[in-house]
Structure formats: structure tokens, C-alpha cells
Subunit: 376 residues, 2 copies
């Protein structure tokens, strides 16, 4: 007897979204599984590594309700090879399932679905509705600056917070690894639960980016935070991410206030120049020196084994000569997050952090990166 | 003073072909370099790992002849980022070069070019001219069966030999890893120097495949063998490969003569079925069982942890029931090398090697794979 029928394409879509999460941690065998539950006209798939969880609702024809727990990777490998036809699934004893598609027949071993860890509970009516594109853009403009070092756990994520200035509310995201910081504000945007500031880990953020990329059609998504978790709802996908506990640094204090030397230049011009000159930067420090004169900047680098490189570019700058070194990759990644044709760099002196920002973004959007200088 | 001028695009093309070879071995620092020599209207690039060498002739404007030895990887990284303009190069003292393109200026450290190992000498008029497509096809139909195990050095390549049957000469290529063998003949094709059988290593063969892929336009190529090296000339590229010393196995003896059970089937049908059923084969043995009945074959597999799979397909077969196991990947790779819609499998019994071949290839072409059976 068939318990559930589902199109191969539909099941493959759901399984492929699970692959980044299920099986990432191998401490508990059941975490390499996906939990399947079928009822009414849906098959629900759930995968989790206990930090990030994802649930997908798929369209299916359910003849008899049931649940199962099956290896995520193996099921994905099988379904990927199946013909584009209807898959018939029958739950057998001992947690096995019987799967049939076209002329292929599979008996697949499973575990007790009752042992699968359940996702934290969410409240359907607590979600704030926000623009999917806005969330994606704000993430892309901050996430690159988050730390990858396990020892700096509280910096391994993006701070979500609510900002009030001149009576206007903004949603703010901030990320920093201690050497650089990126910050973006979106005016008029309010999300319940982030007022006090919550930290969403980078790993989960990157999974959201992936799903959002798959759902470009969805104009809106739901976002909701409780004390321990963030919940993101995109179409029929739900993602749950455990928040990072700990204090985010007092980033307001590191934003320089007196950077009076202002440089304006074309983004593509400095981007290409940095990519060329940084080929001669040392692999470890990745340093590039910027040497400023009136309306001109020389970029230069030196590699102990391979030689040196330099390039002059035209900029708008009226201040005194100054030389300052930066990590080239930090500059390049900041530039990649900007979507304006021109950019501004604001400096104080060779020992103080620089600010780099797009020029000029829409009035409702505010973005900047701060980068620590380095000796070259 | 400028010594040589070359378009960025032209230099990048040459450098990218070198990247697979230069720097592969790091025993001698100079092997991570490319040798550059400019004279008349050409820049010659040479890279070698002492087993495989490649020389490219590029179009350039030479103002003063010279040579240099520069890090292959670093030069490639730099040139890749340059604008699409003319590159000017000037040889400086101490083996450095000065490179300028657009507004970018590089000083690049080098080594003494006289220390670069020279390629073996070849004779321009000794090359046999053959069809590039034929060489590519014959390689693709054999190379997958060559061994990757370092301990079986004499099996790490393709045997090139000349075959005579019924007064007709054929070029033959054979590869085997001891578990399977692939053989292809091309009637009427003669290459000087391979009569006694020479073994060209797989690594070099794969580099040839890459270059041939880049030069689809070139209808013909030159091939030449001396006692120690193979030489392949494709357009302005020349590749030199050190032959493998040692005896190739007496492969004629392992070709079964009495495989009287003949099965005919559609290639796509068995290919798809093998891909599906093999998802449940064990990772180590990759075994799939074929169970034959009149005009039907069941493919099945079993995995200790994950379960089992099976599928029935329609074939043409008039013989008695027989069950035989094969490594699924060996069957799949053999099928991928065939370009006919139907294939033949010829079996004797469950303990004897099977033959798999395309049905029916052009009369001038002859191809077969032999695969050892396995217990399932």
C-alpha cells in the first residue's frame, strides 16, 4: 500500500536545501538524517545541526499519515538519479521505507523518527513581514566582516538591532572581526524583538542567503526573534537559528568622528587597481600602501620574494600628502558590498582607522566600513 | 627601453596552459618558473616538471632579444588582473623584469634563465600528421582504465602500438589497471616509432587532452616518438612527455575468446539504471549484481547500512539464466566512453571477465572494454 506520492522534482528541491545543514555535525547519528512527516497534502522535511534548523513544506498526495527518519545524503543521492516521475513511498516496519519510482525499487533503512530532535516552537502570528531583498542586501553588506575565528565566538555573527535617530526608527546590522567593521541601516524598518540587540551566527546567515537566492520570486519574508532563537520564514521554508550568547562590542565608540581627509573616486577604478597591485602583497599581511597627493593616489605593494607593484589613479582630494597602509582584501571586500559608482574614503592620519563608504546611496540607506590601518 | 611588447590576452592564453605543469613539483625552485625567450616576432614560454614539458609560441613585437625565468603562478596572477592592453616588458639586471601595462608597473624577481632545464631535442621533420579529433577520441576511450596507483607504475599510462591484421595497419591504444582494460583500434592509421609499443603516462595524456580541448579548431596535429619521449605538436603548442619504462602486460591473453552469452541493450537505459541502483552499492566495492533471464536483466545492489535497490530493464538476450557481479563505476565509465546508441555485453559465466563494447561503431574503428567480475 502506498502511503504518500510526491513528484521527484518537488522532493529533490526540498532535499537539496537540507544538504548544507543535515550531516554537518556527526556527533549524533540522527543529525545526519532528515525527519519526514506527511499529513494532509504536505510532506514536511526537517534537518538540523542543533544550531541551525530548517523545515520545508512540500506538495504531496498523502494516502495515510506517517513519519520517518532517513539519511539525508543517501536519500538525496537516490532521488537525484530518479526519472522525472512520481515517487511512491510506503513506510515499513523497523523504521524502513520502501520507495518506488518508474522501474526502480529501493528499501531504505531509517531510525526511529521519535528520536529526531524537535525544532524550537514558534508562534505563527509573531512574525514581522519584511522585504526579502532588503534582508538579503543588508546581510551581503555586513556578513563579510564577521569573524571566522572560533576563539572570538561573540564576533562570529551579525548584530541585529533597532536604532532611533531624530525620531526615526531604523533596522541596523553590524559585523566586525576586530580588524574591520561593517554597518548598515535601513530607515523606517522595524523588527520586533531586536531592540536590545541580538547576534545571529554567520553559519546560519549564510544558509539564509542560500535559500533567499533560491526564492528570488518571494517579495516578502517573515522574521521573528525570541530570547534564544531567530526564525526566518520564506515561502514554504522555515529556518531556525540559535542566537549567539554574549556581548557584542561597543561598536559606536570605534566609529571615527574626526576623519577630515576626504577622498572621492570611481569604485571600479580603485577596485581594479587594488586587485592588480595586491598581487604583489605578501600572502600573510596582504598590505597595500596608499600614498595621497592633491587629486592623485598611488597604490603600491612589496613582496619579499616576488618584487613590487604600483599604480597611480586619479581621485578627488584637496588635503595634504599622507601615506597609509591597509589590508587589500579588506578594502576589496568592502568595495564589493557597495552598489554605487563612486565611493568615499575618510582618513585622519596614518595611525588611525579609515572609513570607506558608498557615495551616494539612497537617502533611506546608510552604510559604512571601518578598517584598521597597518604599517607597510 | 622596452625589449618586448605583447597583448595581455595573448600572454594570458600562454600562461594559463602552463599552470598545470609548472610548479607541480617543488623539489627544484626553478621548476615553479616558466622560461621566457623572445626573438624575431615571438615570445616562447616553456614550463616543465621534468616528466612533462610544454612550449608555447606567442605573437609579440620584439625590440631586443632576451630571456628570463619568472614564477609561473605569480606572473599568471598578475597578468590575469591586467587591463586588455599591450604589456611592455624590459629585462633588468640580476634577472629581474620590469613589466608595464596601462597605469600599472611591476618589478618582478627572476632566476638565471640559463639554469632552466632544457626540453629534449626534437626533429621538426619527423612528426607524423594525424587528426586531432582522432587522437582525442582514442585517448578518451582508453585513459579512464589506466591505473592511478603509484606502485603499478607501468600501468599508469596508455600503450600506443601498431597492429597488423589481414594486411591492414591500425593504430592501437590500450590501458589497464589490472581490474579492467580498454582497447581501441583505428584502421589505416600509422604513427612512426610506436611499432614496438610505447607507454605514455596518464598525467601527460591528461595535459594533452586539455590542450586539444582548447584547440578544437586545429584539424591536425603532429606526433613523434623517440626512445625516451613522446612529442605532440598542436598549432603553436609543443608538448614533450617522458615515456614510462617497463613492460606493458600481455593484454592479448586476457581478452576472452569464448564469451558466448551475448546481451544487446540501449546505452542510455542501462546507464541510467546503473546510476540509480549503484547509489545503494557499498562505497568500497561498488558492486552491482546483474541477473539475466530471457530478454530481461535485473540490476540490484545492497548496502549494509542503507538498504537495497533493484531495477528491471528490457534487453535482447536468448541465453540461459546467469547472475554476475561487476564494479558499477567500471561499467559506467566504459559506457561513458561509447558513442553508439546500443551496446553489447558478452559473458561466459559468473567467474569470468565480461566484455562490453559499443554496437555498432564505424567499420574502421574497433573498441572494447574488459571488466573482471566480482562476488556479490
Amino acid at each position: 500500500m502506498i502511503h504518500i506520492e510526491i513528484e521527484k522534482k518537488e522532493l529533490l528541491k526540498g532535499l537539496s536545501l537540507m544538504q548544507g545543514i543535515a550531516g554537518r555535525k556527526t556527533t549524533l547519528p540522527i543529525l545526519s538524517h532528515i525527519y519526514m512527516e506527511w499529513k494532509k497534502n504536505s510532506l514536511f522535511l526537517t534537518g538540523t545541526d542543533l544550531e541551525t534548523g530548517i523545515q520545508e513544506e512540500l506538495s504531496a498526495t498523502v494516502h495515510e499519515e506517517g513519519k520517518a527518519s532517513i539519511s539525508s545524503k543517501k536519500l538525496y543521492e537516490i532521488v537525484r538519479e530518479l526519472p522525472e516521475q512520481t515517487i511512491q513511498i510506503h513506510k515499513k516496519e523497523n523504521h524502513w521505507i520502501h520507495l518506488k519510482c518508474g522501474k526502480s525499487v529501493f528499501n531504505i533503512a531509517g531510525l526511529d523518527p521519535e528520536e529526531f530532535p524537535s525544532l524550537p516552537v514558534w508562534q505563527e502570528n509573531s512574525f514581522s513581514v519584511v522585504s526579502t531583498r532588503m534582508i538579503r542586501e543588508m546581510i551581503e553588506r555586513t556578513v563579510f566582516a564577521a569573524s571566522n575565528e572560533d576563539s572570538r565566538y561573540h564576533l562570529n555573527g551579525i548584530l541585529f538591532t533597532q536604532q532611533k535617530a531624530e525620531g526615526k526608527e531604523s533596522l541596523r546590522m553590524v559585523a566586525t572581526d576586530g580588524h574591520r567593521l561593517s554597518l548598515v541601516d535601513r530607515e523606517g524598518q522595524v523588527i520586533r524583538g531586536v531592540e536590545k540587540g541580538i547576534i545571529v551566527p554567520k553559519k546560519g546567515i549564510l544558509e539564509i542567503k542560500k535559500i533567499v537566492g533560491d526564492k528570488e520570486g518571494e517579495g516578502e519574508m517573515g522574521v521573528y526573534f525570541d530570547n534564544t532563537h531567530a526564525f526566518f520564514k520564506m515561502g514554504k521554508s522555515l529556518m531556525v537559528i540559535r542566537l549567539i550568547e554574549g556581548e557584542f562590542p561597543e561598536y559606536d565608540q570605534v566609529i571615527p568622528k574626526n576623519n577630515d581627509k576626504k577622498l572621492k573616486m570611481g569604485k571600479e577604478m580603485i577596485y581594479g587597481s587594488l586587485r592588480r597591485v595586491s598581487t604583489m602583497a605578501s600572502e600573510r599581511a596582504e598590505g597595500v600602501k596608499l600614498s595621497l597627493k592633491k587629486n592623485s593616489m598611488e597604490l603600491s605593494s612589496y613582496h619579499q620574494d616576488f618584487g613590487d607593484a604600483k599604480e597611480d589613479i586619479d581621485i578627488q582630494y584637496e588635503g595634504p600628502p599622507i601615506e597609509i597602509g591597509f589590508n587589500a582584501r579588506y578594502l576589496i571586500e568592502a568595495l564589493q558590498s557597495f552598489d554605487t559608482e563612486e565611493i568615499l574614503i575618510e582618513l585622519k592620519d596614518e595611525g588611525s582607522p579609515g572609513i570607506i563608504r558608498p557615495h551616494s546611496p539612497p537617502a533611506s540607506s546608510h552604510q559604512l566600513c571601518i578598517i584598521m590601518p597597518m604599517r607597510i
